[in-house]
């Protein structure tokens, strides 16, 4: 079976005073209908990788790849018309912070129904939106439909955004730190919702996060990124077998509730990792 998404040698560069700076340097992976985690620290290029797949690289940057294919469609030379057909309908993205990614002057209901209407299904837009809000476990969907983003808590806003991205039933969902702004208890709830939707609808999911431990419990496969490169690819169940010193360092430097290592091991960076 062909993979849902294949990426080969993806490179993203931004201009600077010292000439172009490559923030993503040759990333390759393929994705089936599974949960793939991308982990790395700030500036490792994990978010830019996610954005490039949706053609959302900022205008100042340039993204090139030897291959960037989604379900047999070459994304490298896609026209704006093709992009409009793909984004939202077949692939979509959940952003990190609901406060900045929802339209502050539009009710949740209006934003949700806009997504449904754009991708067909005008008449049942309202019913579909309500059903979707229920699917992400919002207990009072009628009230949330009429609410503005500022009237919702962080967890509710994030669920509303997930509902908005999933209401068109995409094949691929890219979630960029979807739970980092949430409390631990709410975080697990949101993940459970995502997990159910992936399993029930057979979606492919790319889960971008800086939290290696969380990703390893949630995803099937994990890519570890460092300075724009994938330094290691791991089966999430075999995290202990990580061999790259960066992955090991990341795993070790987290404090645990039961552990009592003092001082915590810190990550010693090696210039050789940049190669």
């Amino acid at each position: 079976m062909n993979p849902l998404l294949s990426v080969e040698n993806l490179r993203i560069a931004f201009p600077s005073r010292q000439g172009p700076v490559e923030v993503v340097r040759g990333v390759s992976f393929s994705l089936g209908r599974e949960r793939l985690g991308i982990v790395g620290e700030s500036g490792s290029g994990k978010s830019q990788t996610g954005r490039a797949i949706l053609g959302l690289t900022p205008v100042t940057g340039t993204a090139t790849a030897d291959r960037l294919e989604f379900d047999g469609i070459d994304l490298r030379n896609a026209s704006p018309r093709q992009w409009r057909k793909l984004r939202g309908a077949r692939m979509s993205m959940v952003m990190q912070d609901p406060k900045f990614s929802l339209n502050p002057v539009m009710t949740i209901g209006k934003q949700l129904m806009e997504a449904v209407k754009l991708h067909g299904g005008k008449s049942e837009a309202r019913d579909k939106s309500l059903a979707m809000l229920e699917a992400v476990q919002i207990r009072d969907p009628e009230r949330v439909m009429a609410a503005f983003p500022h009237e919702l808590s962080g967890g509710m806003g994030q669920r509303a955004m997930i509902a908005m991205m999933l209401v068109t039933e995409p094949d691929l969902l890219i979630a960029d730190e979807p739970t980092s702004a949430l409390d631990v208890t709410v975080q697990i709830e949101v993940l459970r919702i995502l997990d159910r939707l992936v399993t029930e609808r057979g979606m492919g999911l790319i889960f971008i996060s800086h939290d290696l431990r969380l990703v390893s419990t949630f995803c099937d496969r994990v890519l570890v990124m460092y300075a724009g490169r994938v330094v290691e690819e791991l089966d999430a169940r075999r995290m202990d077998e990580a061999s790259h010193p960066y992955t090991r360092g990341l795993l070790n430097c987290l404090p645990t509730i039961t552990g009592d290592t003092r001082p915590l091991p810190v990550l010693a960076r090696d210039d050789a990792w940049l190669e």
Binding site: L250, L254, R262
Partner: protein, 256 residues
């Protein structure tokens, strides 16, 4: 007697027609040279306790005393000599147009310390930044380096009590370890008392000997580190927090 005593503290924010009771009678006491943790979800009032302690929140009832003496309101200079705070977001808590030198010299000037130059250099040395950082601006530093500057600013007045409001939640995991180690070392060297607020149970368990769990403006449980590590808790809420911290599980959470 405990160093910090808080009794039935209430804080109410007045929002016109709507009043928000952020703290509904919180009592806790912190011993000298102790490291005390406050955990809870957003909106549980954990940061408000710290802000009330250093005079940044409208206290409507209750008593706060340090060393058995009630703290004056507004807080005086002597109070800030003893109590300093490190804020959550190092990107927002440093003045963007002041050099590190100015950030660190200002408290010294206000409190009339001598040998300002030596103290600034020493403070930078203590938090692991060389004097080469002295004339830089915050935007020239990384998040971890900024948080070190914020810690240096709190320490430069040689206080005894440091209030830490989520000191590492804006930092990467690898940088978090460095900052936590720094805080640990400083406490051991100087006999400081910490009150640390965090939503991360692992951080609190690593840093604190005792902790309280807060929920909607009230303290629901007080635990020692050993009790937390042994999951020895009677409250469902604390247990949920513990389960959630362990990561994602395929099946719905089972009580342990």
């Amino acid at each position: 007697m405990a160093l910090i005593e808080i009794e039935n503290l209430e804080v109410t924010f007045d929002g016109g027609d709507r009043q928000v009771r952020a703290l509904k009678g919180v009592s806790l006491s912190v011993e000298e040279e102790d490291s005390f943790g406050i955990v809870g979800e957003s909106g549980s009032g954990k940061s408000t306790v710290l802000r009330a302690l250093c005079g940044l929140a409208p206290v409507t009832a209750g008593r706060i005393s340090i060393d058995g003496k009630p703290v004056p309101s507004p807080r005086d200079q002597a109070f800030y000599r003893r109590v300093q705070m490190v804020f959550q977001d190092p990107y927002a808590s440093l003045h963007p147009r002041h050099t590190i030198d100015r950030v660190l010299s200002e408290p010294l000037a206000i409190h009339g310390f001598d040998h300002a130059e030596k103290r600034v250099e020493q403070a930078l040395e203590d938090v692991g930044l060389g004097s080469g950082f002295r004339f830089r601006y915050p935007h020239q530093l990384s998040g971890g380096q900024r948080q070190r500057v914020a810690i240096a600013r709190a320490l430069i007045l040689e206080p005894k009590i440091i209030l830490l409001d989520e000191p590492t939640s804006a930092l990467d995991a690898s940088i978090q370890a460095e900052v936590l180690n720094l805080l640990d070392r400083l406490r051991a060297d100087r006999g400081l008392t910490y009150v640390l607020v965090s939503h991360d149970l692992a951080v609190v368990s690593h840093m604190c000997d005792r902790l309280v769990v807060m929920q909607s403006g009230e303290v629901v449980e007080e635990l020692t580190r050993e009790e937390l590590q042994a999951h020895d808790t009677t409250r469902t809420y604390t247990r949920n927090l513990l389960t959630a911290s362990a990561g994602f599980t395929r099946s719905p959470a089972r009580p342990r």
